[in-house]
């Protein structure tokens, strides 16, 4: 069993490492970066991060494959039409919920 003092030590280590990774570069980099390749790299990073996080995780994000795909399909349709983030998110949940709970009524 984990003692309280051990618990706090573990959490302190976790929290500190995670925080420093976020805070140090944020505080230390003060100037505009002028190198065109570095700038481009930093500009593309968000899209790389998002795509890597979305795929393949999205296929199981609502539990099963079918509800997840339904959520993705709704999200894609709404995203292509440039709907707001909240609209797309709620649409995705609605699509996933539909295919999760409706079949349960029939079986």
């Amino acid at each position: 069993m984990l003692s309280l003092s051990e618990f706090f030590k573990y959490v302190a280590v976790m929290a500190l490492v995670t925080y420093l990774l976020r805070a140090l570069p944020f505080v230390l980099v003060k100037k505009k970066i002028t190198n065109v390749y570095v700038r481009s790299f930093l500009e593309y990073i968000p899209y790389g991060v998002l795509a890597a996080m979305t795929f393949p995780a999205v296929f199981t994000s609502a539990g099963g494959l079918v509800p997840s795909l339904a959520g993705v399909a709704v999200a894609l349709v709404l995203a292509v039409r440039k709907k707001s983030l909240l609209t797309v998110a709620i649409g995705a949940v609605a699509g996933a919920a539909l295919l999760t709970f409706v079949p349960q009524i029939f079986y």
Partner: protein, 243 residues
Amino acid sequence: MEQNFTKGLRDGMPICLGYLSVSFTFGLLGVGMGLSWWQATFISLTNVTSAGQFAGLTLMMEGGAFIEMVIAQFFINLRYLLMSISLTQKVDEKFRGIFRWVLAMGVTDEIFAVAMSQEKPVSRRYFAGLFLTPYIGWGTGTLLGALLGEIVPAGVAEVFGVAIYGMFLAIIIPKATESRPVLTVVLIAAVLSCVIYYVPFIRLSSGLSVTVCAVAAAAYGAWRFPVAAEDEAREQAKPAGEV
């Protein structure tokens, strides 16, 4: 007015929704593994990171060494370092000093992505709002998962997991349909991520996998499609013109 606290809170709503589901799972799992409800919630409020917390939870319950914890957290969360550097190029001039120390806590994948998708520079007020709603969601979800986990059917919490990816798609898709470089970066990262996930002999934690994929895709993008000089000039002329 467009870049204020209230807009931040509102833009944080979809993130909050997604966080409720993920942190609910964390609360459930934490209590299942032997933590008390307040311990699970305490971890969420001090760390605010999904993959890092799940890995950390496993390590601490197995009695892992502290150095293992340091190494695991470092590599799983290395992407935050890149995001923080990227974010320094996006924030406005008043966003510095103590505000950076405090609000650095809010650099998560989702908050970062929404902040970077703004057309204007990001103000500290906007970012504070954008951090607050998801942070409350992250803590509340953990607490609920820990307290009510046995009462709420798993399926109900599960469907909300898709919310966050819906939001990601809402950011990626419009931009990728307009910009060939962004489309290329997105495709490379997505394919690489699937390869790492499905090919059996490659084993990377999800956090590290995201870092590797994003770095590879963005590096290729920067090499093949460096931001054109005229875009650069326009970008630099903008703030000067406004002053």
